[in-house]
Amino acid sequence: MNCAECREHVLEAEPLEIAAALSGSQEGVGPSVISVEGPSGASFREHVAGCPGCMTAAEWVMAAQEELVGDLSVLSPRRSLYVSVPEAVLEAARRSRRTRRGSWGIAAAAVAAGILAVRSMDLEVGGEPSAVEIVATAPVVATVLTPAVDASLDENVAVFETEDSDIVVFWFYEGRGQ
């Protein structure tokens, strides 16, 4: 797996798989993690472990997801969204991979782009070309074909595709650490 493939995989991998890759090994990782790994799981883990740039990208995606979940947790009337949102995202990913993997890839990329694009950080890319466009200007249009949405400097936006392909959800939330 090269850097481009790795970063594409980061955008569509499930959080537990990314977490496992960041841990550097399977040690201490339960069977639920192994079960969510795709066929490229081993090479993904190896590449992340040996590539500082891709490790940073993976850490970013994880941090962005945690931040989003944290912000959305204020909406939780029934139970903690820290649990329910990842579950929803994972379930959507599973359903999507069974039915239309390509679309989920776009959705995941859109979420990541929406979150990452408004962060004024640089990602060091070593050696191989990057599949992830990091834009450090703002306001930024998070564009992944269609749909697209603008996010201002002080906010992030997540783009969710739903089971109904005719409905797309843009959810704005406060940015932190700008």
Binding site: D71, L72, V74, L75, S76, P77, R78, R79, L81, S84, V85, A88, A92, V141, T143, T146, P147, A148, V149, D150, A151, S152, V157, F160, T162, E163, D164, D166, I167, V168, V169, F170, W171, F172, Y173, E174
Partner: protein, 234 residues
């Protein structure tokens, strides 16, 4: 032997006729060109210029192609075949911009127990993502416009007071997949701007905009917009 010679002569004759008639080659070897002016009804001059550029061979020796556009009049000097292609291209793309119908819905996530059939599809999608107890339709607005139009619609939303939708139809692309619409949106409730952003969605697709934390105290207001394209009859 005699038969073979006749066949060769006949083949030469056919080839000669084809060369002089079919390929329209002038006596000096350069192809014949004609000049024709097309009337462009809907496309901007600069778009037409770019559109026909690949069909105009300005570097052709002996009979260079030329094109100029001014105030919707496109004049081209090219071979009859290329003029026909340009005609076909204009016929395909020089069409009126479609009318855009925008349907807005203002929804509050507030624990409403029943399901409003007017927002049933959006509610189902939101329930996949979030765990609000329920959703209530506060208001619905429909406006029409075309690309470049700025739309402003005032209305009252229960409990929110005087509200207004501002929308600029920035870009409309009609394509074989149904087209896309790019909108600059602002939703004002009272003195507050609840949403202000630019979105692009497919025609017929529903964009659901939400925010955390809410910009109206503890009330979670969700803006839904669905653009639909309606072709204008020529």
């Amino acid at each position: 032997m005699m038969t073979a010679s006749i066949r060769i002569a006949a083949a030469c004759l056919v080839a000669s006729v084809a060369l002089s008639l079919g390929a329209c080659v002038a006596g000096d070897g350069a192809p014949e060109t004609e000049t024709r002016t097309f009337e462009v009804l809907y496309l901007d001059d600069w778009v037409v210029e770019r559109l026909v550029e690949p069909y105009v061979y300005s570097g052709r020796e002996g009979a260079p192609g030329m094109a100029s556009v001014v105030q919707g009049k496109l004049t081209v000097r090219e071979t009859p075949e290329n003029l026909r292609r340009i005609d076909e291209t204009l016929l395909e793309f020089d069409r009126p911009k479609p009318m855009v119908r925008l349907v807005f819905q203002i929804i509050e996530a507030n624990g409403e127990q029943g399901v409003d059939p007017r927002i049933a599809d959006v509610e189902a999608a939101l329930r996949q993502l979030f765990r609000f107890d329920g959703y209530r339709l506060l208001g619905e607005v429909m406006v029409y416009g075309t690309e470049g139009n700025e739309l402003f619609q005032e209305f009252d939303v229960p409990d929110l007071g005087p509200s207004a939708i501002e929308a600029v139809i920035m870009n409309v692309r009609a394509d074989s997949a149904g087209g896309t619409v790019q909108l600059e949106l602002r939703f004002h409730a009272g003195s507050r701007t609840v949403f202000g952003t630019t979105v692009r969605v497919r025609a017929g697709q529903t964009a659901v905009l939400g925010r955390t934390p809410s910009s109206i105290g503890s009330r979670n207001i969700i803006l839904v917009v669905r653009p639909e394209l309606q072709q204008i009859q020529e």
